[in-house]
Amino acid sequence: MSPVLRRSLAGLMAVAIVLVLEACVAGPGYEGGVVEASYGADFYEPYGYDYGGWGPGYRVGPPRGGEGHPDHHPGGHAPPYRAAAPSRGMPSIPTRSRGH
C-alpha cells in the first residue's frame, strides 16, 4: 500500500470517527440534541422555611365558593393586581367527582 493511500485511509477513518461522534451528539431526537442525562429541575431550594409563626387567624386553605369578597383593597390604595369584580363570586376548588 502506498504512503499516499495509507494517509488517505487514515484521514477517512478520522473523518468517520468525527462523524460518528457528531451523530451521537446530534442524535435523532428533538432540538438537535439528546435527552439530558440530568433532569432540569434537580436542584434544592434555598434553605430557610419556617412555620413557627402561624397565628390562630392565619388561613391558607381554599374557599368553599360563592362567598363574597371585599370590593376594595385593604388599606384603601389600589392593589398591584387587577382584582376580580365585586360581582364575581369567590370560586371553589373543583368539586366534581371522577365518573360523574
Binding site: Y39, P62, G65
Partner: protein, 307 residues
C-alpha cells in the same frame, strides 16, 4: 521497521473507532432511558392554564421518601433512570401524582429538599419571556421531554421557586382530588399582592381578596372559574424567611395523618388547625425535611361558581 508500523496504526485506528462506537452506544442508552412519562395515560385534550398540574420532589434519600409517602398515602412507585440519576414516579390508583428525584447532598451542605410546583401554560417560551420581563429569574431553561412536554423553572421576583409545564398529554381534568392526591397550593410571599400581580401577568389569574382574621393578606388565584391557589403573607413573626410554594394533599382525617407522619419519621411544622374552608389543615415535613400540607375537605357544602 516501517512495515511493522502499519498494522499498529491500523489497530490504533480500529480501537478509536470501537471507542467512538462505544461512546455512541452508551449515549444512546442514556438518552433512551432518560424519558419522563406523560402526565396522563391515555392522553387528554383539556388544558387549564394556571392550574398546578404536577409536583416533583428533590430528595437526598429516595428510598426513605418512597417508604414515607407510600406509608402515608398508599402511593406506589415506578423507577426511571435519568442517565446516572434516579427518578421515581408516584402513583395512586393508577394515576400519576408526582415524581421523586434523588440528588445527594454533602453532609456539609445546608440545603432545602422541597416539592417543586409545576403550573400549566400553553407556551413555555412565551411564559419565560413574560416571567423574565416581570422580574423572574431563570433556574432551568425551557427543555422538552417528548412524552411529558416542555418545561422550565423560575424563581419569582420574591424568590419563590416554581416551574411551568406545557404538558404533551394534556392537563388533568378538573375533578375533586381524592384522598392522597394534591388538592391545593399556597404561595407564601413577603408581598402577596405584588406576587399576585406577577402570577396574574403570567397565568391570567383572577385575583380575589380574602383578608385573614389576623389582618394578613390572603388572595385567591383563579382560572376557569376554579380557585387554583392562594397567595399568603409570610407571618409577621417570620419576616426573614423565604417565600415559597406549599402544596397540600387531601386527607380524610388531618389529626390521624399528622400522627402518622411522626410514626413514619416526618415532622409536624404546623399542628392541625381549622382553616377558612371549615376543614383542618396541618403542615408537615417528610424525613428529609421537604414540607407539604395536609388538608381535610368534605364533599358537602361546596358551591361551584358559574360564569
Amino acid at each position: 521497521m516501517a512495515k511493522r508500523a502499519y498494522p499498529t496504526r491500523r489497530l490504533v485506528c480500529a480501537g478509536l473507532l470501537v471507542a467512538a462506537l462505544g461512546v455512541c452506544f452508551t449515549t444512546a442508552v442514556v438518552a433512551a432511558s432518560a424519558e419522563l412519562p406523560p402526565l396522563l395515560q391515555p392522553a387528554g385534550t383539556e388544558h387549564h392554564v394556571g392550574k398546578v398540574i404536577w409536583l416533583d420532589l428533590v430528595t437526598p434519600d429516595l428510598s426513605a421518601a418512597k417508604k414515607f409517602y407510600g406509608g402515608l398515602f398508599g402511593w406506589t412507585f415506578h423507577d426511571i433512570r435519568l442517565g446516572a440519576a434516579e427518578y421515581s414516579v408516584a402513583y395512586l390508583d393508577g394515576r400519576a401524582v408526582g415524581g421523586l428525584f434523588h440528588k445527594a447532598v454533602a453532609a456539609s451542605e445546608h440545603r432545602q429538599p422541597a416539592w417543586l410546583t409545576f403550573i400549566a401554560v400553553p407556551d413555555v417560551d412565551a411564559a419565560k419571556q413574560t416571567a423574565v420581563a416581570q422580574g423572574a429569574k431563570i433556574l432551568a431553561e425551557p427543555h422538552t421531554y417528548p412524552a411529558r412536554g416542555r418545561q422550565a423553572v423560575f424563581s419569582d421576583p420574591q424568590g419563590a421557586v416554581f416551574a411551568v409545564l406545557a404538558s404533551a398529554s394534556g392537563d388533568p381534568p378538573d375533578y375533586l382530588a381524592q384522598p392522597g392526591e394534591w388538592i391545593w397550593s399556597s404561595l407564601i410571599a413577603k408581598d402577596p399582592g405584588a406576587d399576585a400581580a406577577f402570577y396574574q401577568a403570567l397565568f391570567g389569574y383572577e385575583v380575589f381578596e380574602s383578608a385573614n382574621t389576623d389582618g394578613s393578606e390572603h388572595l385567591i388565584l383563579a382560572t376557569d372559574d376554579f380557585a387554583r391557589a392562594s397567595a399568603n403573607e409570610l407571618p409577621d413573626s417570620a419576616p426573614h424567611h423565604r417565600p415559597h410554594w406549599l402544596n397540600f394533599v387531601r386527607v380524610l382525617d388531618t389529626d390521624a395523618m399528622t400522627y402518622r407522619v411522626g410514626q413514619l419519621g416526618g415532622r409536624v411544622l404546623v399542628e392541625p388547625r381549622v382553616d377558612r374552608h371549615g376543614g383542618k389543615i396541618a403542615v408537615v415535613a417528610d424525613p428529609s425535611g421537604a414540607p407539604f400540607g395536609l388538608l381535610e375537605w368534605s364533599d358537602t357544602q361546596t358551591k361551584e361558581v358559574t360564569p
